[in-house]
Amino acid sequence: MTELAIDIEGLAFAWNDGLPVLDIPRFEVRRGERVFLRGPSGSGKSTLLGIVSGVLKAGRGRVRVLGEDLGLLTGGRRDEFRAAHIGLVFQMFNLLPYLSVMDNVLLPARFSAVRRGRAQPDPATEARRLLDELGIVTKGSPARLVTELSIGQQQRVAVARALLGRPELVIADEPTSSLDSDARDGFIRLLMSECSATGATLLFVSHDTALGGLFDRQLSIGDINRARPQLEQS
């Protein structure tokens, strides 16, 4: 088992217009590390996350995630890999409005047998525990609809979902951009402690430099990416 959660070498990526978005000679994240990746919008952050999570395919170079060379996997296998090993949290509206809080958290178990199997003792119990720890279940039942929750609560539900079934890698893409500063710090502390509890690697991306101090390591996308894209597709 390799010591690296993310291991990128000679990565290049360009959208259809041919303008290079990413040109990363080397980028490594160790297992269990909590990394803050900073960068303004349009700097290629989201594209990098897309490649790491296996949604996008690198144009050139090698991308190993948890020891798996994503370039060698088919689209379907990459989807399977993501479902089994990666938890994702987005900016906002992470949740399906037509599912209950509980069912939203259980979504990864629905699509991945690996996540279902690793949720201990069973997905529903783990979901309840996670929601409890994140302070969601204290008021009301987990069966209620997510639309009744505040944005901050919704983001915490999204974290519970990302952590269900103990994925080795948690990727958060600007998860705090819709939260005020108090809620933001609380949210990050919760996210980090939950990741520590499961030993998950955390890759946290934001344009907000003020958050960097909370992490093991912080770096700017400019430090690793030699390409200087004008516009990112997001």
């Binding site: 989201s46 999570s53 993501r82 509206f93 990864p108 629905r110 699509f111």
Partner: protein, 430 residues
């Protein structure tokens, strides 16, 4: 597949307003199609089973379909009568096994009154050569007895012994009743599912009797002198005739032959009969002709109903396609938790199938409920007797066809969503 059905159902439920409209559009179109088809089948059934065992229907010269309509279906009127002599002549022909005289023109509370004689109960057959059976009472014996069809008895609540009046003409409301000649119900026939159920039967004597002093009536009432040139009129005929009341003519008569060999010959002889312009038709042939006329309208209806179903499905397609744009986020979320593009494709296909299935089930249920509740009306007003067996094989086939068409239509949005989710990946477009 399994994890997706619940998702598809709940995603639809979340958009239940527009989903319900889509389901209703499909349901109404399916309802129309089922309705048209059931009425079509019912009509064909009813047609085929109305008369059986009769070899010829004979009436005054007219079209075969017209003759069939008024003599068997009690729809419309004869233009003229058939003279009693012609009827007698045919009745006594050696190749003829039996005849049934029919005299129409009066009514009782919207139901046609038919004058006939005992031969009607002996020889008339319907459906699969079934004879008429009395549910209660007995056939008429004198000019004051009436035998009512099953539906007449049920609808009007008649029992044996009740007295009824007969009106001149055939409207439901008649101002000219034969008030001086009341009838007593002597018998009630069992249900046949044919126009017999809606008929009040009286004897020919009674018809003659009630019209005796009817001045403005439609019929000649006085006995006419016999035509001396009746070819093979034996002596006995006059004597038998004298025993009957003076009835100048009847509306039509049914003929049963001893052997089928002479049927066509007899038909031609009657159609070419010099003394009186007559039309003789073979019921099966006339039914076929009538059905062909009806069938044109009927096929047009079916075509229209099919196109309405198509419109319903296009409505569904529009609704799903419109929703795709606002659901890109939903697809991206699903992708982030492990759904593959193929899952997204399947989800959209399931959505189309669920909408269509709900529409079809609702439509078929509603159609059968509507048919069941209007069966009475259809039977009494239009003479359509529906087979009310609930949804059957046809409905299953229809459901299969509509859902298949919906699945085909669903391929379009499913493919679009598949492509979108490949291109969008986890990027949520806001």
């Amino acid at each position: 597949m399994k994890p997706l059905i619940g998702l598809a159902a709940r995603s639809l439920w979340n958009r239940r307003g527009s989903a319900a409209l889509t389901v209703f559009a499909i349901a109404i179109s399916v309802m129309l199609l089922v309705g048209v088809e059931t009425v079509r089948n019912g009509a064909r059934e009813s047609f085929a089973r109305t008369i059986s065992g009769t070899d010829l229907i004979v009436g005054a010269r007219s079209g075969p379909v017209n003759l069939l309509l008024y003599s068997v279906f009690r729809i419309g009127d004869a233009t003229t009568n058939v003279s009693w002599q012609s009827f007698e002549l045919v009745s006594r022909h050696p190749d003829v096994a039996w005849t049934i005289p029919i005299s129409l023109g009066d009514s009782h509370r919207g139901y046609r009154v038919m004058g006939t004689n005992g031969d009607y109960f002996r020889h008339y057959r319907y459906g699969n050569r079934q004879a008429l059976a009395l549910a209660a009472g007995k056939a008429f014996e004198d000019a004051h007895d009436a035998v009512v069809g099953a539906e007449v008895a049920r609808q009007l609540g008649y029992r044996i012994g009740d007295e009824i009046m007969i009106a001149h003409g055939i409207g439901e409301v008649s101002f000219a009743e034969h008030g001086d000649h009341p009838f007593r119900i002597a018998g009630i026939l069992g249900p046949t599912g044919t126009p017999v159920d809606r008929t009040v039967h009286v004897s020919l004597d009674a018809i003659a009797g009630i019209h005796e002093d009817w001045q403005g009536g439609t019929r000649a009432i006085a006995a006419e002198p016999r035509h001396p040139h009746d070819i093979d009129d034996p002596e006995g005929a006059a004597a038998e005739e004298a025993a009957r009341p003076a009835l100048a003519g009847i509306t039509a008569f049914l003929v049963g032959m001893r052997t089928k060999d002479s049927l066509l010959q007899m038909q031609r002889a009657l159609n070419e009969y010099r003394a009186e312009p007559l039309t003789a038709v073979i019921p099966g042939v006339a039914l076929q002709q009538l059905w062909q006329i009806v069938n044109v309208a009927d096929r047009a209806l079916f075509l229209v109903a099919t196109f309405v179903v198509l419109a319903g499905l296009i409505g569904m397609l529009t609704a799903i396609l419109t929703s795709l744009r606002e659901r890109r986020r939903e697809m991206a979320i699903l992708r982030s938790v492990g759904a593959r593009p193929m899952h997204v494709f399947t989800l959209l296909m399931l959505e189309a199938s669920l909408l269509a299935l709900a529409g079809v089930v609702l439509g078929i249920t509603a159609a059968h409920a509507a048919l069941a509740s209007t069966a009475q009306l259809l039977a009494s007003r239009f003479g359509l007797f529906m087979e009310m067996g609930g949804p059957g094989v046809y409905d299953l086939l229809l459901a299969g066809a509509v859902v298949s068409a919906a699945v085909l239509a669903g391929l379009v949005p499913a493919w679009l969503a598949y492509r979108n989710s490949l291109a969008d990946g986890l990027t949520i477009r806001t």
